[in-house]
C-alpha cells in the first residue's frame, strides 16, 4: 500500500512546477559556475571548478531549493484541501507523509545527480567558447560525485525540518520564513564552530578540511534527518485533519 501512496505522489507531480524547479536549480548552479569561469582571467582546474560549484550549491541553492520543493509538494494537497479526501480513505495516514518524504528525498537526490552531470557540460561549453582552455586536467567524476553525495546525505535534517513545517502549516509563509531565515543564518554563521550542528549549514561542512568535523556534521545531518522524519510521521499521523 505504501507503494501506491508513493506512486500517487509522483503522479501528482505531472504538469506541476516541481519538475521545473528540479531541473532549474542544478542548471542555474552549473550556468553560474560557467559564467564565473568565463569571467576569470587565469586558468584553473576541474577540481577547483567543481569545488566552487559545490560550495554555491550547498551554501545557497540546496537549502533554498529544499525550501521551495517541500513547500510546492505540500501545497499540492494543502491548496485544494485534498487532505479532507485523502485522510478519509482506508489508508494508514503515515503512508501519505512517508510517501511525500520519499518523493522529496528522491528529488533532492536527483537534483544532486543532475548537478554532477551538468557541471562538466557547463565547463566544457566554456572551454569550447574560448580559444584558451581554462580548465586543466580531467573532470573529477568520483570526487565531485562523492562530495555532492555527502552534501545530499547531510541535507536530510534540513529537508525533514522543512517538509515537516510545510506539511504542518496550510499556509506556505511559515516554512518559507523558516527556509529563508535558516539559509540567511547559515551564511552568516559559516565560520562558527557551531555551524556543524546548524541544519541549513550542515551540507556545507562537507567542504571542510577537518575530516572529524565533516564526519560529525554529516552524521548529524543524516541520522538527525531520519530521526526528525520519524517524529514527523508520528506527529502528522496523529494530527486531526482540517
Amino acid at each position: 500500500m505504501i507503494f501506491s501512496a508513493i506512486y500517487c505522489e509522483f503522479a501528482k507531480l505531472r504538469n506541476s512546477l516541481v519538475l521545473l524547479l528540479c531541473i532549474a536549480a542544478p542548471a542555474m548552479v552549473a550556468i553560474l559556475s560557467g559564467l564565473i569561469l568565463l569571467d576569470r582571467s587565469e586558468a584553473t582546474d576541474w577540481y577547483m571548478f567543481s569545488m566552487q560549484a559545490a560550495a554555491m550549491w550547498s551554501y545557497f541553492m540546496l537549502p533554498m531549493t529544499v525550501t521551495a520543493l517541500t513547500i510546492l509538494i505540500a501545497q499540492i494537497d494543502h491548496g485544494p484541501k485534498a487532505w479532507n479526501h485523502l485522510l478519509a480513505l482506508p489508508v494508514p495516514r503515515w503512508h501519505f507523509y512517508a510517501a511525500k518524504a520519499f518523493v522529496v528525498v528522491s528529488l533532492v537526490g536527483a537534483m544532486s545527480a543532475a548537478l554532477v552531470v551538468l557541471l562538466p557540460a557547463a565547463g566544457g561549453i566554456v572551454d569550447l567558447l574560448l580559444a584558451d582552455q581554462k580548465l586543466k586536467g580531467a573532470y573529477p567524476w568520483f570526487g565531485t560525485a562523492s562530495l555532492i553525495a555527502t552534501m545530499f546525505a547531510g541535507s536530510l535534517l534540513l529537508t525533514a525540518i522543512q517538509l515537516w513545517a510545510s506539511l504542518r502549516f496550510r499556509s506556505f509563509v511559515p516554512p518559507l520564513i523558516l527556509g529563508i531565515g535558516g539559509t540567511f543564518v547559515a551564511v552568516a554563521a559559516t565560520a562558527s564552530r557551531q555551524g556543524a550542528f546548524f541544519p541549513w549549514l550542515i551540507p556545507t561542512n562537507a567542504l571542510g578540511a577537518d575530516p572529524e568535523r565533516v564526519a560529525t556534521a554529516i552524521q548529524i545531518g543524516f541520522y538527525g534527518g531520519i530521526a526528525v522524519g520519524i517524529f514527523m510521521l508520528f506527529d502528522m499521523g496523529h494530527k486531526q485533519a482540517g
Binding site: 506512486y7 501528482k12 504538469n15 478519509a88 482506508p90
Partner: protein, 316 residues
C-alpha cells in the same frame, strides 16, 4: 440489518465551544438521509467525525455495525465522501484525479470509466480540472466518492454555490444513485427545500444538537392538513359542513378552513365536500389542500412555535 450510520452520544468540542453535542444519529441502509440545519449547526463537523477526520470528544460512531475508530480502515472502505468544496488537483485531468483515488483504494481500473459515466463526465475525462465549472467539479467529487463502490455516500452541501441547472443535475444524480446503485446517501444541506425533493429520512441539527430525526413519510403523516374553500355563501356552507361532521371556520369574507387528518383523508373529504356544496347550489371558486413544508416544520421545531400551513396545490 445494521444501520448505515449509528452514533451514540457523539460529541465534539473545540476548547469551550461545543460543535456537536451528544447526537444520536440512526441512518437506515438504503435511505437518502437529509442532514439539515442552518450554517454553523454542526453538520460538517458531524461528517468529519463520521469520516474519522476528527476524533470525538465523547461517544462513538458505527458504520454498518463497525466501530469507526477501532476498525477505521474497514469502516472507511464502506464510505465515499465529498466534504465541503470539491478538492481536486487542477493541474491534472479528471481521469488522472480519479486514478489517484483508484490506486490508493486498490480498486479496479475500470472503476474510473464507470464513475465518469455515472456522473456524465466521460466526454471531459481527459480535460484538466482547472478548466471545469463548479458543477462539473462537484460531479467529479461525487465520482471520486463512488470509486471502490462504497455502500454509504456522505455528501456535504453538494449543491452549494451551483446555478439552478447544476442544482438540478446534482439532485438527479443523487436520486439515481439511490435507485440504481442502492447506495445509502447522507446528504447535508442548509437548503431545506432542496433536501425535501430527494430525502426519505431527515435529521435536523441546530446549535450542535440533533433536534429532530424521522422518515419524511412519518413526519408528514403526523402533520395536520387543512382544506381551504372559497365559496359565495359562506354561512350556508358552514352549516352544511357542520351537518356533514366537519368543523369549519370562516377565513376571510368568502373563505372557509376545514381540518383534515391526513393527506388521503383530506383528498377524500375534499371530493365529498365539493359534491355536497355543488348539489346545494353553492358556488365553489377554489379548493385547496394545505400542509406544512419541511421548512415550516423545521423552523417551527427550532423556534418552538406552531407549524404554519403552506399551500401544496390549488384547484380552481
Amino acid at each position: 440489518m445494521n444501520p448505515a450510520i449509528k452514533t451514540l452520544g457523539l460529541r465534539c468540542s473545540f476548547g469551550k465551544q461545543v460543535a456537536v453535542d451528544g447526537i444520536e444519529l440512526a441512518v437506515p441502509p438504503g435511505s437518502v438521509y437529509g442532514f439539515l440545519g442552518p450554517n454553523g449547526a454542526g453538520k460538517t463537523t458531524t461528517i468529519r467525525l463520521l469520516l474519522g477526520l476528527l476524533k470525538p470528544t465523547a461517544g462513538s460512531v458505527r458504520i454498518f455495525g463497525l466501530d469507526a475508530q477501532s476498525r477505521r480502515a474497514e469502516a472507511a472502505r464502506l464510505m465515499g465522501a465529498l466534504v465541503e468544496t470539491p478538492c481536486h488537483y487542477d493541474h491534472l485531468t479528471a481521469r488522472e484525479n480519479l486514478a489517484i483515488t483508484r490506486r490508493l483504494l486498490g480498486a479496479a481500473k475500470s472503476d474510473v470509466d464507470r464513475v465518469l459515466e455515472t456522473v456524465d463526465l466521460a466526454a471531459d475525462a481527459d480535460r484538466r480540472v482547472g478548466g471545469f465549472s463548479l458543477g462539473m467539479r462537484q460531479r467529479l467529487g461525487i465520482a471520486r466518492a463512488l470509486i471502490g463502490r462504497p455502500r454509504l455516500l456522505l455528501l456535504d452541501e453538494p449543491t452549494n454555490g451551483l446555478d439552478p441547472h447544476g442544482v438540478l443535475d446534482v439532485r438527479r444524480l443523487i436520486a439515481s444513485l439511490a435507485e440504481r446503485e442502492g447506495v445509502t446517501l447522507f446528504v447535508s444541506s442548509h437548503v431545506l427545500a432542496e433536501v425535501e425533493q430527494t430525502a426519505t429520512h431527515v435529521g435536523l441539527m441546530h446549535k450542535g444538537k440533533l433536534l429532530l430525526q424521522s422518515s419524511v413519510a412519518a413526519l408528514r403523516s403526523i402533520q395536520t392538513k387543512t382544506v381551504r374553500l372559497k365559496v359565495d355563501r359562506t354561512d350556508e356552507a358552514i352549516g352544511l359542513l357542520g351537518a356533514m361532521g366537519f368543523g369549519s371556520a370562516r377565513h376571510g369574507q368568502h373563505s372557509l378552513q376545514v381540518d383534515a387528518s391526513c393527506a388521503e383523508g383530506a383528498a377524500r373529504d375534499l371530493a365529498a365536500i365539493n359534491v355536497k356544496l355543488v348539489e346545494r347550489g353553492i358556488k365553489v371558486f377554489g379548493l385547496e389542500v394545505s400542509e406544512p413544508s419541511l421548512e415550516d416544520i423545521f423552523l417551527g421545531t427550532i423556534a418552538g412555535v406552531p407549524v404554519p400551513d403552506r399551500s401544496m396545490s390549488l384547484v380552481s
